[in-house]
Amino acid sequence: MQMQRILVALFLFLAIPLALADKPSSDENKSESHEEGHSASTHSEDNEHAEHAEGLSANAPVIFKLGPLQITNSMFVTMIVALGIIIVAQLATRKVQLIPAGLQNFVEYLVEGLYGFFESIVGPQMVKQTFWFFGTIFIFILFSNWFGLIPGMGTMGWGMDEHGHFAQPLMRGVNADLNMTLAMAALFMVLWLFWSIKAIGAGGFLGHIFNVKGHGSGFFGIFLVIVFIFVGLIEVVSIGVRPVALTFRLYGNVFAGENILETVMKLGGPYFGWLAVLPFYLLEILVGLVQALVFALLTSVFTALMCEQHDDDHSEEHAH
């Protein structure tokens, strides 16, 4: 009974803008019918113009310059998010107590949960020296994705054109900038190389990729060695693709998310835009979490793949 009332109330609430929306749309129809006499070229020009104005620009515009350093709007948001995380971490650890309460309790719960999660992937040995990276990358991507969804992020700025878009929006989602995701992926690959060589040595590293030992002697053994050298070459290509895939996966998801929100907002028209975009907002909150998880998970799995041999050796040594 109550459900029905809520539905009726919702329907009436939605019907109000529908009645209001009737008038401007009929005006538009009239004006369109008046303009039908125009040549086709102006129409195509209009379409082109609309396409250019639609959506987020692929690169982040520069908002101000500090000497030779150009600060783009996504760098600006990066600093805000980083500052927020630092402030929360400082507040949480200002008075560290043995029995945590309040903010310290919450932050410890999050960090310990993350630590246990990464420990289950990379093992108890590696997690001690790699958790700082995976934990930071997860927390930073998660909060920068969610920060980018706050209404007003892309709609504040200056230099408005006739379509109502700002030429220079003040803020932009951090991971909607290819530079940021590429920087994180590149940093990970350098660290990955460092950790791998530290864990299993340069010889072990090459031996892991080109798995040439232990195939026996004779003709079949030599044949297998040749096969595994080619398998190693394929492995090198697969490792080379990893940073590219990491970069474009995160950038593509966040960038596409921003564009989906804007497109759906326009589909809803001037009165229903907020309603049409609502499910996509929830979807983007989920995507922000999943992409942070995916980036941290993939980087940790890549590390574990290369370093797990080392952990096995250690456990065997302990067993002896």
């Binding site: 992937i121 895939a245 474009f248 799995v301």
Partner: protein, 66 residues
Amino acid sequence: MFAVITGSLHVGLAALGSAVGVGLVGMKAAEATGRNPGAAGEIRTQAIIFAALAEGIVFIAIFLAK
């Protein structure tokens, strides 16, 4: 620029393939969780990894194969 890329066939094919791939991963992950609910956490981790790997193809197609 974007209109030209989205109008291309290879992106559509890559999207089709990775959609099927992600769907298969999700289907099998749900089946596996139903068969062994105790391993739900590990299955979720693996499902996310492989869904991400399948999904990565379409981004490579969009941005690299112009």
